[in-house]
């Protein structure tokens, strides 16, 4: 990608000296949909909170996040305030607690309109209503006077999305937007995100622990483990030809929808390492069936595996058998 919308390079974050991100490189092109997948603590959310300067003050952030040629890390607050919501909007996992409980939803959407589009009064109200309509809130004209607790979880997530759209961002970062929602509502929200992306042409970063959700919604997927991107691959190739043993393991851990029932899944042994006690070299080493002594020497860099696919593994190649069975594919 020659000229991406956002380019994150060498992003490192540490809390109280404990590294949480260890040099993340990730680029998002204009209008592109990128999925970021990984288990809890892999740094998938921290990456984007750090990019927008939303981490608490004790976080030490280094590296570079460039939006349209402008460096965001260390940018002055007024610049960040214009970027947040105006260029890059973000929605979060738990919509009920992500909206302010004491303000009406119309006011919360209107606030973003005032900040980024200078709208006020009747114009802001009309636009709020249009946005709520656009995200599928029924009876938007009346609903804008409701408080978050008067809406269901799915509707609150729609309000969050309307609020994100209010600033006409060029990138929407959705951090586990459906994890707290019921299965059928999750389908509604993913559908809505896809529709809105088609309508507005904005780019989308979908952060999720669910490979299925990400692969279905995104063009490209970045898999993260222990604070690093360990594989970057197109959604199409993700299921057919995952390169990194961890990606293969995640896929095989997904219960299949067909085949013999109640068969053992090829589960990844062990659990995610603690950030303060990472193994040497490749952090996945101790859980990896392919693990060899060279894996402990250094953190493996991302290398090209195939066109549009990069993986951070020392033992790659056409003759290497998959580390985990690929029952789910």
């Amino acid at each position: 990608m020659d000229d991406p919308l956002v380019r994150i390079s060498g992003l490192r974050v540490a809390f109280d000296g404990v590294p949480v991100l260890r040099g993340v490189d990730l680029a998002v092109g204009a209008g592109e949909a990128v999925g970021v997948v990984g288990e809890s603590g892999c740094g998938k959310s921290v990456t984007w909170l750090a990019a927008l300067g939303l981490l608490p003050g004790k976080a030490r952030v280094t590296g570079s996040v460039v939006l349209d040629g402008q460096e965001l890390l260390g940018a002055p607050m007024p610049v960040l305030d214009r970027v947040r919501g105006g260029q890059i909007a973000m929605i979060f996992q738990d919509p009920a607690s992500s909206l302010n409980p004491v303000h009406r939803i119309g006011r919360q959407v209107g606030e973003a309109l005032r900040l980024h589009r200078g709208m006020d009064g009747a114009a802001a109200r009309a636009e709020t209503r249009r946005l709520l309509d656009q995200v599928g809130i029924p009876d938007a004209g009346n609903r804008m006077d409701a408080y978050p607790h008067e809406l269901s979880g799915g509707q609150n997530q729609r309000v969050m999305i309307a609020m994100a759209l209010a600033g006409r961002p060029r990138l929407l970062v959705a951090d586990e937007p459906t994890t707290a929602l019921d299965v059928t509502i999750q389908a509604q929200i993913l559908d809505l995100l896809a529709t809105l992306r088609a309508e507005t042409g904005m780019a989308l970063v979908l952060i999720s622990h669910d490979l299925g959700v990400v692969a279905e919604t995104c063009d490209r997927v970045a898999v993260m483990y222990a604070g690093l991107v360990i594989e970057e691959v197109s959604s199409a190739r993700l299921f057919d030809a995952p390169a990194h043993p961890y990606t293969q393991g995640l896929l095989s851990a997904l219960p299949p929808l067909d085949g013999l029932p109640r068969q053992h899944l090829a589960a990844i042994p062990g659990s995610v390492p603690e950030p303060r006690a990472l193994p040497p070299g490749c952090a996945f080493g101790p859980r990896c069936p392919r693990h060899a002594s060279l894996c402990d020497e250094q953190v493996p860099p991302l290398v090209d595996v195939a066109p549009g696919q990069r993986a951070a593994c020392r033992i790659l190649g056409a003759d290497v058998p998959p580390a985990f069975g690929l029952a789910a594919a």
Binding site: L49, L52, L54, M77, P78, D81, R82, V83, R84, G85, G86, A89, M90, F92, D94, S97, S98, L99, N100, P101, V102, H103, E111, A112, L115, H116, D145, Y147, H149, E150, M160, M163, A164, A166, G167
Partner: protein
């Protein structure tokens, strides 16, 4: 809404009945008013006559019910010392007490809340630590100790301010500070923790993520939410406007309701004691009621779900 108010009123009435009953029982069990007021070596006939005059010779439960009957008719009884209506005795002391407690309340709110908010916003900074150390100290030192210390320094040593009495506004300064500092400390600690709790909420991050400048996040998103728990403490302080100065009034010989209560208790002057307690209970109950209504205003979640509560 009507049901809510009716329920609250019923509870308020019950509280007041319990307070009055409690005071009646405790005072009656702890000493004989006749002996206290007439002195121990008064002639038995005089004691008997006193008892008869005040109805103290009747069975306890008769006294109790007649007392309640009188209250219901608006008669709070007379002081056994000088025969004046208890309510008048109490009423004429109220302005003096308010002259201390109202400025003290302003001090508590005016210092406590900003200090708490500032400490929360600059968590773990030097200022935060100083505020919290002072808050703990202000909270831990009893008001009579603080009062005496202030008298020692500003009245006795420096001679800047009078140590007691009620002749000019300068006399009020030390008692107001004594009263205010403890409350400000409590409020600062409470506001700080309420604010920290709110600042950790996801909706604060949402506000920042949509580009709201930090000052506006604090003002528009954090403060309205932190106000909800803080109102409880302020309400409690409002409730103690009338009787919250008992100790301080005694230390500074300030002729307010508090001192009247102390004197009346030691004299077993029943009517006066009960009149004060009734007043205290009524203020407490009223302020609690106002706090409950305020909750509804501040927190839409406590209003009726859908309809009714809008506005």
């Amino acid at each position: 809404m009507l049901r809510f108010i009716a329920g609250r009123l019923l509870r308020a009435a019950l509280t007041i009945v319990m307070v009055v009953t409690f005071a009646f029982v405790v005072l009656r069990l702890s000493g004989d008013p006749a002996l206290l007021i007439l002195s121990v070596d008064a002639p038995p006939e005089a004691v008997a006559a006193f008892r008869e005059a005040w109805g103290l010779d009747r069975p306890l439960w008769v006294q109790y019910f007649s007392y309640f009957g009188a209250i219901l008719q608006g008669d709070l009884g007379q002081s056994m010392r000088d025969g004046r209506d208890a309510i008048d005795l109490v009423a004429e002391r109220i302005p003096a007490t308010l002259a201390l407690t109202l400025p003290a309340l302003a001090l508590k709110v005016g210092i406590g809340i900003p200090a708490g908010v500032y400490a929360a916003l600059h968590r773990n900074s030097a200022t935060d630590r100083v505020v919290m150390v002072m808050a703990v100290a202000g909270f831990a030192v009893p008001s009579f100790v603080l009062g005496l210390l202030l008298v020692l320094v500003f009245a006795v040593q420096l001679g800047w301010l009078p140590s007691g009495g009620q002749d000019s506004w300068r006399h009020a300064i030390l008692p107001v500070i004594t009263l205010g500092i403890g409350g400000a400390a409590v409020l600062a600690r409470f506001t700080r923790s309420a604010m920290l709790e709110v600042l950790g909420q996801p909706y604060i991050r949402t506000a920042s993520a949509k580009g709201v400048p930090w000052r506006a996040v604090v003002r528009g998103h954090a403060l309205p939410n932190a106000a909800i728990p803080t109102v409880t403490i302020v309400g409690f302080m409002v409730g103690s406007l009338i009787a919250g100065a008992v100790v301080v009034e005694s230390v500074f010989s300030w002729p307010g309701v508090g001192r009247l209560l102390v004197v009346a208790v030691s004299n077993r002057d029943l009517a006066v004691v009960q009149c004060v307690l009734l007043l205290v209970a009524a203020t407490m109950v009223t302020s609690n009621f106002i706090v409950d209504l305020l909750y509804g205003v501040l927190d839409p979640r406590l209003r009726t779900a859908r309809g009714g509560g809008k506005g």
